[in-house]
């Protein structure tokens, strides 16, 4: 298995040893480079996801999607981004200008913040705290505020309605999301993201196999709640275009809207990435206990595994989005408080019992 920490350690040595920089200079340069890498990765993945969404949506609706710009429409997204960048940003009359400009930044901060927790490869986890998973849920809750402030500061009835809906929905679904994460923490015995992935290396060690029934249920609940948390799929009543024009970002133009657009797609990626990290083994390759097969699988670098698994989950979530009709607000709340929340509590208890009696496939 390729260990990315070789590269980072070599770079650190280069800065400290060869260039003779102190602690301060070396860490500053490394932080700037890592930050740039995260933002570039964010932008590239957003472009890929937007293109994928348009194509997947088109094929689900028996269309062919964008084909004119570039080969098979590949340059369409770049054209869209260019258009968005040169559009004028204007404010609504009598709106709170400060909050209006601030809101997209809150949303994008929450999105990039959670994005930088994803483990890309062995030794390539950017933010790797002791309280990892807990911090991810904490940072993702900032997004709710961004959405709400955006709707409120737009001075528009539809936007306020949409903001209220979004806040209620995101706060409710955060609960089952958090409880599913806790059940995974019980099984792996750590909250650190690199530790969670490390616990899933080895034959049949992905959490979904380790924790069999409760983990599989947990994965499903996590995907549903995550879809709702990202304001997508059948849970997109916050921006329900047929009732509320575009919801909380109706009044935004240019890059103000672009930030919401980016954050929406990257939240989808972050949710899929977290589901992959926690239940499907992150960068851990599939191992079945036969030596030759395992050795072959280990040759494939971790980032390929991670991106591959994540895009499978992304495709599943897109499939759900373009298949099911939108839920009403009472149906959304009923689904969370009457079905998903009790179910996730049952999963939590089941997982605790399984771990306490040793009914898991853990190879210690």
């Amino acid at each position: 298995m390729f260990d990315f920490s070789i590269v980072t350690r070599w770079f650190d040595e280069l800065l400290r040893g060869t260039l003779g920089l102190g602690d301060f200079g070396a860490i500053l340069i490394e932080c700037v480079i890592v930050g740039l890498a995260i933002i570039i990765g964010y932008a590239v993945l957003a472009i890929i996801l937007i293109f994928m969404e348009r194509k997947v949506c088109a094929y689900f609706q028996c269309r062919i999607g964008p084909v004119r710009v570039g080969w098979w429409g590949t340059l369409q997204v770049f054209a869209d981004v260019l258009k968005m960048l040169i559009k004028e940003i204007f404010v609504v009359d009598k709106a709170d200008k400060l909050l209006y400009y601030l809101a997209p930044f809150l949303v994008i901060t929450a999105s990039i913040g959670t994005f930088s927790f994803l483990p890309w490869n062995k030794g390539a986890a950017v933010l790797d705290f002791n309280v990892g998973i807990f911090l991810v849920t904490a940072i993702s809750s900032i997004g709710v505020l961004g959405v709400f402030i955006a709707g409120w500061a737009s001075n528009n009835k539809y936007s306020v309605l949409s903001a209220m809906r979004a806040a209620v929905q995101m706060i409710s679904y955060e609960l089952s999301l958090g409880i599913c994460l806790i059940s995974a923490v019980i099984l792996t015995n750590t909250m650190q993201i690199s530790g969670i992935v490390e616990a899933q290396t080895g034959p049949w060690q992905w959490l979904i196999f380790q924790g069999h029934i409760p983990a599989t249920l947990g994965f499903l609940v996590f995907c549903i709640a995550g879809n709702a948390e990202a304001n997508r799929g059948p849970f997109d009543l916050a921006e329900a275009e047929s009732e509320l024009t575009a919801g909380y970002h109706t009044e935004y133009s240019g890059m103000g809207f672009g930030f919401y657009y980016l954050a929406e797609y990257l939240n989808l990626f972050v949710i899929s990435g977290l589901a992959t990290t926690i239940f499907l083994g992150g960068w851990a390759p599939i191992n079945i206990g036969i030596e030759g097969f395992d050795a072959l699988m280990n040759y494939i670098p971790g980032i390929v595994w991670f991106l591959g698994k994540t895009f499978v989950v992304v495709f599943l979530l897109m499939w759900i989005r373009w298949t099911f009709p939108r839920l009403r607000v009472d149906q959304i709340l009923k689904l969370e408080w009457k079905y998903l929340m009790p179910l996730s509590l049952v999963i939590l208890v089941l997982m605790t019992v399984c771990v306490a009696f040793g009914w898991t496939f853990t190879i210690a």
């Binding site: 301060f24 309280v131 402030i149």
Partner: protein
């Protein structure tokens, strides 16, 4: 050195947001400024390697309490909020200054006694991040320095709050029916 720079940035953010929070007349802006104050405080915890406390600060205050405040603001009618802004009053200035001085003296006293600033600046303080395992075990242990009693007490307290909320809601509903 790096810690001092980060501390200075955080201090400026916290102070500026706090002053803005109490001086602005629009209540939503005040709530947003409060959010930034709470972020800054979380940043201070991270600077001191209290990652768990910092995370709890973001999760509970920034993600929970501020959202609750904003919801409460939305539920209050527009008429109640009008004319609520306070004027600068000559008589109260003296009392306010006195209270502020006492507060500042207390903070400075604690600050100097515990040598927080020199602790922050010095590079040779060991990295004393408390791991989650230690926190979890202490939270659930009944031994000396264990926190199981306050932990359980808080959960009972929260239950009482929920029941109280439901009772108030039911009284309202019954009145509406009548």
């Amino acid at each position: 050195m790096a810690k001092l720079i980060v501390f200075a940035i955080l201090a400026v953010v916290i102070l500026a947001s706090a002053v803005f929070c109490v001086s602005t007349k629009r209540i939503m802006r005040a709530a947003t400024a409060l959010l930034f104050v709470l972020f800054g405080v979380a940043g201070l915890y991270f600077l001191l390697d209290y990652t768990f406390l910092g995370t709890a600060q973001i999760s509970i205050y920034a993600g929970g309490i501020t959202v609750m405040y904003i919801f409460a603001i939305q539920l209050v009618s527009k008429r109640t909020l009008q004319g609520l802004s306070e004027r600068w009053m000559g008589k109260r200035t003296l009392l306010a200054a006195l209270i502020a001085l006492v507060g500042a003296a207390t903070v400075l006293g604690v600050f100097c006694k515990n040598k927080i600033l020199s602790e922050l600046v010095s590079t040779n303080t060991p990295n004393t991040e408390v791991t989650m395992e230690v926190i979890g075990k202490n939270l659930m242990s009944a031994d000396k320095y264990g926190y199981v009693l306050p932990f359980e007490f808080i959960s009972v307290f929260l239950l009482a709050c929920i029941i109280g909320g439901l009772v108030i809601l039911n009284i309202r509903k019954n009145e509406e029916v009548k």
